[in-house]
């Protein structure tokens, strides 16, 4: 080990020695007990599923051909005016592909610096343009994913895949799949890769790459955070509950995009202006709750957190350094999956300094069912939404 490496080691040891261990928390112990109880049950389910799934397994070698998007559904972001290659002077980096979607112009680009590949985005709006970027370390086997949300329920996911991926398919919970167009990386980037772009649907589960022989060579799960704030704009919302907070009327609204896939939104009125926040915070799956948070009526002292809880959760609270905020839980409207209910809470907005906030669900006996940090978005909530 040379002197530089010795110094690095020594300084890391010094820095780490400042960290005082803490005991295993009561909540963690409780979660372990619940998890161990749950694992026992899950084991039974897996065995049962394996027994039932024999027939399915025999057919699993035949990969179905991708099916096109449903009528009226627009996954291909290029729309009618898309071009590749492209030019967009306001876009940072090399322009990959551009297009128009529901009247909004957009462009995706890329930059590469010290092996950090940044996917850049540009959206034209009536009020001017908005831009952004997300960066990841680039490698020759890397499948990149970056999601940008210009608002209005659009989530444009884009990234790069290795050149040996001949076909890239987006898989969905329904079993349907959608083949994405691949755009060779502009020469100026100097990488052997193709790019893709897709308006990612709420039920997207994975991106899968196949080589020229049809063999699956790459798979990346799409988690809820990658689906951003996509919401089904055409769905008819039902008012779950309503109320007033310091003169601001609000409504918690919801719809289902499928069994166990609730979308929930909060609308409020300030003066003559109505504002709606909406999201589908995760398909229910095996999670005890899903949530979204955001600003509320332009206020700086309070934010709003809303979402759904499943049957085991009887009580829900947001615990911050400033105290505990109980969520208001309401039954799902008639016709909804009756395994979950909806909630809304208005915790205090984060103050200055390090933020500490957890979201805790309790069962009827007061045991912790699940707890999760309110993601870093909590401290940015004057302008953010984020998943768990």
């Amino acid at each position: 080990m040379n002197a530089f490496e010795e110094r690095l080691r020594s300084e890391m040891q010094d820095a780490a020695s400042d960290i005082e261990p803490r005991p295993l928390s009561t909540r963690s112990r409780g979660r372990v007990k619940l998890r161990q109880a749950g694992l026992t049950l899950a084991g039974v389910v897996v065995v049962a599923a394996a027994a039932m799934g024999t027939g399915l397994a025999l057919n699993a070698f035949e990969r179905p051909e991708p099916t096109p998007a449903a009528e009226g559904e627009s996954l291909d972001p290029r729309g009618s005016g898309g071009t590749y290659p492209c030019e967009q002077p306001d876009l940072e980096g090399a322009c990959i592909v551009t297009g128009t979607h529901e009247g909004k112009e957009w462009a995706i680009g890329a930059t590469l610096d010290s092996n950090e590949l940044c996917i850049t985005n540009w959206f034209g709006t009536p009020d001017g343009s908005i831009t952004g970027s997300g960066c990841e370390r680039y490698g020759p086997d890397h499948l990149g994913m970056d999601t940008a949300s210009p608002g209005g329920g659009l989530d444009l996911m884009a990234g790069e895949v290795p050149r040996d991926v001949a076909r890239l398919v987006l898989e969905r919970t329904s079993g349907a799949s959608f083949e994405l167009e691949l755009y060779p990386a502009p020469a100026e980037l100097g990488i052997e890769a193709n790019f893709y772009a897709v308006f990612v649907p709420r039920d997207a589960t994975a991106l899968v790459g196949y080589d020229t022989a049809g063999k699956e060579i790459l798979r990346e799960e799409i988690d809820a955070s990658m689906r951003g704030d996509f919401s089904d704009k055409d769905a008819k919302d039902t008012v779950v509950t309503e109320g007033e907070l310091q003169g601001v009327q609000w409504e918690l609204r919801a719809h289902e995009t499928g069994p166990g896939s609730p979308c929930v939104g909060l609308s409020y009125t300030t003066g003559s202006l109505g504002t709606a926040l909406g999201s589908c915070p995760h398909a229910k799956g095996d999670r005890p709750f899903g949530f979204q948070l955001g600003p509320f009526a332009g206020r700086t002292d309070v934010i709003v957190v809303y979402g759904w809880v499943t049957a085991p959760v009887d009580d829900l609270a947001i615990e911050t350094r400033r105290g505990r905020e109980q969520a208001h839980i309401a039954d799902a409207p008639e016709g909804f999956d009756d395994d979950y209910r909806f909630f809304v809470a208005f915790p205090p907005a984060p103050g200055k300094g390090p933020v500490k906030a957890v979201f805790v669900g309790y069962d009827a006996a007061g045991n912790v069912v699940e707890e999760t940090p309110l993601c870093p978005g909590y401290k940015l909530a004057s302008n953010s939404t984020c998943g768990r």
Partner: protein, 163 residues
């Protein structure tokens, strides 16, 4: 030994080291404690698959590396979302106490999380390249390459600072 007692014993033995590793990977003490608690909840679910004390440590390291990766990935998505808003209203990274940091630690924190993980595992955890590869889910060649790029970046940063 009951599972609960075993977990307590393992936490006493490995918890402090896991927290320190999480801290070096994230640069955030509160987050490091949170990740460690989460890691032990996950670890408890995998007890029956672990054969020895050594494998507990290796398994735990891998969980910590994955949790920190997940954290940074979520943060990246959120950064991307927020960056797409023209009016930037807030910093997009977690607050990190930088007071009192050495220039070396500051340079380390400026690395991408994968490079940083490779450096921490190599020089703090004393792992070999195959062990780093295993902990990070990479090939050995990829781990070697990642580490080499990280060290180059660190040296460049340090040389720049000390000029």
């Amino acid at each position: 030994m009951a599972e609960g007692s075993r977990l307590e014993a393992v936490y006493r033995q490995h918890g402090p080291a896991a927290t320190r590793l999480a801290y070096l990977l994230t640069g955030d003490a509160d987050l490091a404690h949170d990740l460690t608690q989460e890691a032990f909840v996950k670890l408890a679910g995998g007890f029956k698959h672990l054969r020895s004390a050594d494998s507990v440590r290796a398994y735990l390291n891998r969980i910590i590396v994955n949790l920190s990766k997940d954290h940074f990935r979520r943060a990246k998505v959120e950064r991307s979302y927020l960056a797409s808003r023209r009016a930037e209203r807030a910093p997009t990274t977690d607050p990190v106490d930088v007071e009192g940091r050495s220039s070396m630690m500051t340079a380390l924190e400026a690395l991408g999380h994968r490079q940083r993980a490779a450096v921490v595992l190599r020089f703090y955890e004393d792992m070999t390249e195959p062990q780093i590869a295993n902990a990070m889910g990479l090939s050995t060649a990829a781990a070697r390459s990642l580490l080499a790029r990280a060290m180059k970046t660190l040296r460049n940063e340090m040389e720049g600072d000390e000029r």
